[in-house]
């Protein structure tokens, strides 16, 4: 499919670059693409940049996958606390660390865990992770279903109108800091409750 020659400007085609980044090239295609990359700094820079963007996206997707597990873990933790108040929930911590790739945690300010918030004035606040950082915030229901997600360069996100938040339900949220070099840090999963 992609063993055609380079495009008219002499660089790799988008298909070749994406297949290289995804590791999907056949041996013959790989030979052709690598021969070009060995001498073309423009395409090399492109593959590095695209690779960073794609991996950062995959890390965020892994977080979304982990949220349902974390929600279940949180529920298990509540059960553990009910039966044995002195024991913390070890599962929640383990799941979270896996989700964050061992990255440093962002410190959240509001809403604090298990606080009740009015759904028509949702306001999320966290501490800065430095300059030139993008933050990606996500809110999910207890099944891990995404309710909303947003990115910002600020350390505050306010949602004036938030649909789909049911009264009396607990919701989960987290915010990731996305650094220029493709690295990320996460707040871990936090909870808030919509009052009945």
């Amino acid at each position: 499919m992609t063993n055609q020659s380079q495009q008219s400007d002499g660089h790799l085609t988008p298909q070749e670059v994406s297949r290289f980044v995804d590791g999907a090239l056949s041996p013959a295609e790989r030979h052709h693409v690598e021969a070009h990359l060995a001498t073309c700094s423009v395409c090399r820079a492109e593959t590095v940049h695209v690779g960073r963007l794609v991996r950062a996206r995959e890390r965020r997707k892994r977080l979304f996958v982990v949220v349902p597990v974390a929600a279940a873990a949180a529920a298990a933790g509540i059960l553990l606390l009910t039966s044995s108040p002195s024991e913390p929930s070890p599962l929640t911590g383990r799941v979270f660390r896996d989700a964050g790739d061992g990255a440093q945690r962002l410190e959240v300010v509001a809403p604090i865990d298990d606080s009740t918030v009015v759904s028509d004035s949702l306001r999320f606040v966290w501490r800065s992770a430095g300059t030139d950082v993008q933050y990606a915030l996500a809110v999910t229901d207890s099944n891990g279903g995404p309710i909303m997600s947003e990115t910002t360069a600020d350390t505050t996100l306010v949602f004036p109108v938030v649909p789909n938040l049911a009264a009396g339900q607990t919701y989960f949220w987290f915010v990731d800091a996305l650094f220029n070099d493709g690295e990320s840090a996460t707040s871990g999963i936090h909870r808030f409750i919509i009052p009945p």
């Binding site: 055609q4 298909q15 995804d22 060995a38 700094s41 423009v42 090399r44």
Partner: protein, 236 residues
């Protein structure tokens, strides 16, 4: 810079059988008008975060990112979605990766138009090409020599300049006999200053240690090749 407008054949039917993502098939297969507008909105609902993230990674500011984002949307829609039609379904790779490449190319093109100079990613660890080239030689020939002690390639001393040029030519020749994959490895590390962990991910090495070991082996080979050409000192 590549324009991302490379055109290839596209399956005549933009339905599920074409292997296209559903949201893309709807855009390309829909009848022009309300139906297609709705399909486009659905496409954006799914991919706007990704497009915006790419725009932000290229643009120098938040306002610039929105400007780039708007340009990307305009270009993707141009000529009946010509750019999107260039996508060839491929089971072994992701549409989103392809979309990142195309979006990035559009953003880089837009940056060049707006700012009048090529876009270049700058990171805290990034070094100028001249310094990078010098560091490459230092790594090859004498690990314990400080960067400052190595002669600048911009020297005004003609003899010294000639010697530096010869050294670089010898190095290029020595690198030229390496496989393309090994050349990429060295260039990513010593010219592009890419972290080892990223090189491992990009080049599909199972661990970073494999990358370190391979680079060390390659440096040994290059050092030997240069010594065989009479180079035993990085000082010209």
């Amino acid at each position: 810079m590549p324009s991302g407008s490379h055109t290839r054949g596209f399956p005549a039917s933009a339905d599920g059988a074409s292997g296209l993502p559903k949201e893309l098939a709807n855009v390309l297969g829909g009848v022009a008008g309300v139906e297609r507008e709705q399909a486009w909105e659905q496409f954006l609902q799914i991919h706007s975060t990704l497009l915006l993230r790419v725009a932000r990674s290229v643009a120098p500011s938040q306002d610039g990112a929105m400007d780039h984002y708007a340009y990307v949307l305009e270009e993707l829609r141009r000529d009946e979605y010509r750019r999107l039609k260039a996508y060839v379904p491929d089971r072994s790779t992701k549409f989103t990766t392809w979309l990142v490449v195309v979006t990035r190319r559009l953003c880089v093109d837009h940056y060049r138009r707006v700012y009048g100079r090529p876009w270049k990613k700058t990171t805290p660890g990034e070094v100028e090409p001249t310094v990078a080239a010098r560091r490459r030689l230092i790594d090859l020939l004498a690990d314990d020599i400080s960067l400052d002690s190595f002669p600048d390639t911009t020297t005004t001393d003609p003899d010294r300049g000639l010697r530096v040029k010869q050294l670089n030519e010898m190095l290029s020749r020595a690198m030229g006999v390496l496989s393309p994959r090994d050349q990429i490895l060295l260039r990513l590390r010593f010219e592009d200053d890419v972290p080892i962990r990223e090189i491992a991910a990009l080049m599909r090495y199972p661990t970073v240690f494999r990358v370190y070991r391979r680079i060390n082996a390659l440096l040994d080979r290059l050092r030997l090749a240069l010594m065989n050409q009479g180079v035993d000192n990085p000082e010209p």
